[in-house]
Symmetry: C2
């Protein structure tokens, strides 16, 4: 099943996935700092206005890059849901 | 609610998100080619062995990068589910 052409594609996918994992690691470092800041300032974990602005911006960037904007919105909401769980945990810890 | 410190964090998050969107756009270009190749070769859309190897590798990379491996696995499965939907659509079109 695996021939040279499929292997070449998969090797590119693996490189991109490693980049995605490292970008996400960096993103969660920042949202961790945001969570600590929000907890200290007594700010709520979620911010719907901010999230809506992020969705609109990323849908626009996705369209320009040839990525499905509906998928991109699902992707952002998937990440943000995880971030909010972290923020709530941080707020509960303080 | 938005002060300088939060704005600085958010500007970094926005930069990372733009990078993620462009990485994903590139990843879907490659999986589109994989889907067309698999459809032409009569190969199934999903490949559980490959997916399991990807999960194990990304969990390892995530741990090294300080990212939650359980979240990383959820993330990969989220992306792969979308890819499989695309592959099935391509296979159905041919």
């Amino acid at each position: 099943m695996t021939d040279d052409r499929l292997s070449t594609y998969r090797s590119s996918i693996d490189n991109i996935d490693a980049a995605l994992v490292h970008m996400l690691a960096e993103r969660f470092k920042i949202t961790q700092a945001v969570g600590e800041y929000k907890a200290a300032a007594g700010l709520p974990a979620a911010d719907e206005d901010r999230e809506q602005r992020q969705v609109e911006r990323l849908r626009r960037l996705a369209t320009e890059a040839g990525l499905d904007p509906a998928f991109t919105e699902k992707f952002l909401r998937f990440i943000v849901a995880e971030v909010i769980r972290h923020h709530q945990r941080i707020a509960g810890d303080t």
